[in-house]
Amino acid sequence: MSIAELESRELQLEPSAGGLWSDAWRRLRHNRGAVIGLVLVGTFVFVAIFAPLIAPEDPRFQDLSRLGGSCCPGPSADHWFGIDALGRDELSRILYGARYSLLIGVVSVAVGLSIGLVFGSIAGYVGGAVDSVIMRLTDIMLSIPGFLLAIGIVAMLGPGLIQIMIAVGVTQIPIFARLIRGSILAQRDNDFVLAARSVGVPKRTILSSHILPNAISPVIVQGTLALATAIIDVAGLGYLGLGPQDPSTPEWGTMLTDTTRYLQTAPHLAIIPGVAIIMSVLGFNLIGDGLREALDPKLRGRG
């Protein structure tokens, strides 16, 4: 058998396998959970972007006369999600709240991911004492439960929107750093790295254009799941009153803060933002799980 024949044979064995990404996308589309996740996240992103066009009112507009002497009017034809304790339209606040949750989630994961990426790849590629120092540092950070670490950082920086983004981002640094280090260690001794090294490719280029692209898929999965965690943590910090200090900010967690007082008369004020948080978190979790399966090299070419 000639070499050409062998090659044509191999090509026949993998007829449908396009690139890693088109293959993964195809499998993601066939995963029912992931599709639901995409719809949920798609809606969430759409609402976040077009909130000013969809929302019936300014989320900060107050009209106490609408309360009618009690707290608080429930859903009605004019106000689908009811009125909150300060006479604001709950639907508008929920719609605008999507902006905050999305923004906070993306920024904090970006903080954690980028810093984790730098430290993790240095640790994994350089190795030795540098690796030990970075790994011990992550050990220490991981020895404080993430949410408490975030509380500690907020106490240091003071409450506020930007502060909670940083705090939640910092708690994710060690997770990403370890993940990337492990992934790089697994790639470092591959043949293509050896080949690149033997033809004299500089270390930095090997790391950035040979190792990282191959080590990235677990990071994408973790990044998606981290968005879910970030939204939960940020809502939790907001609920504790550590979020935006301007109480008119329509952040979902902050909106829940005082609602336990009105549970008897106005349960919708607690349940609606709660459901909004659950839906967005669920969406990211579903996509993350779907991606994990879709990017698993053991399953490539199937589905």
Partner: protein, 334 residues
């Protein structure tokens, strides 16, 4: 085994030192200097200098850090700014409430999560299996405090079956020698009080246990699926071991290792979940203590509180690692 324990304990030292360093610099990065916090904004320069000298704040940073570690070593964790009581004393008084809550939450999640995951794996692909997967996905997607609020609304406010806040009804009066109210009630021999304490525990424990429940059932399912196709399980079946014994002795025992890991990890994480749960149910534990400290900018409490929790977290993880040795003789040898 002893060498293993000693080595693990030695590994604690750098982690604890690192933690103390982190907390030390954290407290120094907080807004406002200790002198102005104690003396007020309008203190004279001399007064500030005198105070800095008195507390050693004029010394170089590394000396301050050594002094701080020495102070920690002698068991002095500072004084709460609001109550003027030693921080450690307050911590000891509040810890039982949080432990009681965390243990109940863990019991709830293990007692339901392990059988749920086991049955799901045994009926792989069935409706029950699908249901358990969806339920566990929902479990990790619902923030603890949202679930806590929903539970409180349904079972406490709407149905009125369970109390809304606190650890015990105000009408009941018993002695509190241990501050574990369940134990206190039993010591007093007061069954009515005991039932009252249990009723107060149910909702917070379910809320706090929801995430561990979801994760434990998921891991149990995956682990049992892995183990039940092993050769030794087939051998046991082939030689006619009763199914019940195979389930218990061959499958569950071997599937237990990852389950124990996750239980340990989750126990540590319960401490941070407790902050939110306690705040919804006005539970007088470590969580509300920390939240109150944040609101009042009570830094000594925050500093020591976070240090204590980190130490507990590390110790729990150590216990988990040690329990591997008991469950898996292969690790004990190496």
């Amino acid at each position: 085994m002893l060498r293993f324990v000693v080595r693990r304990l030695l590994l604690l030292v750098p982690i604890l030192l690192g933690l103390s360093l982190l907390v030390f610099f954290w407290i120094r990065a907080l807004p406002g200097s200790p002198a102005t916090a104690l003396l007020g904004e309008r203190a004279t320069a001399q007064a500030i200098e005198a105070l800095n000298k008195q507390y050693g704040l004029d010394k170089p940073v590394h000396q301050q850090y050594f002094a701080y570690v020495k102070q920690l070593g002698s068991g002095n964790f500072g004084t709460s700014q609001t109550s003027r009581r030693p921080v450690f004393e307050e911590f000891k008084q509040r810890l039982p409430a949080t432990i009681e809550l965390a243990v109940s939450a863990m019991l709830f999640s293990v007692l339901i999560g392990v059988p749920l995951g086991f049955l799901a794996a045994k009926r792989y692909g069935s409706f029950f299996d699908q249901f358990s997967l969806v339920a566990s996905l929902l479990g990790i997607s619902i923030p603890i405090f949202v679930l806590a609020i929903i539970l409180k609304y349904v079972f406490a406010v709407k149905l009125g079956w369970l109390p809304t806040v606190g650890r015990m009804s105000v009408l009941i009066n018993i002695e509190h020698p241990t501050n574990f109210y369940t134990i206190d009630a039993l010591l007093a021999g007061d069954l009515e009080a005991f039932w009252d304490v249990i009723k107060h525990l149910i909702l917070p424990a379910i809320a706090l246990g929801s995430i561990p429940l979801a994760i434990i059932s998921r891991i149990t399912r995956a682990s049992v699926l892995d183990v039940q196709n092993e050769d030794y399980v087939r051998t046991a079946r082939a030689k006619g071991v009763p199914p019940r014994t195979v389930d218990g002795r061959h499958i569950l025992r071997n599937a237990l290792l990852p389950i124990v890991t996750i239980i340990g990890l989750q126990t540590g994480l319960l401490l941070s979940g407790a902050v939110l749960t306690e705040s919804v149910f006005a539970w007088p534990g470590i969580g509300t203590w920390l939240v109150e400290a944040i609101e009042a900018r009570n830094y000594p409490v925050l500093q020591a509180g976070i240090l204590f929790i980190a130490v507990i977290f590390v110790l729990v993880n150590l216990l988990v690692d040690l329990s591997y040795g008991l469950l898996n003789p292969r690790i004990r040898l190496s």
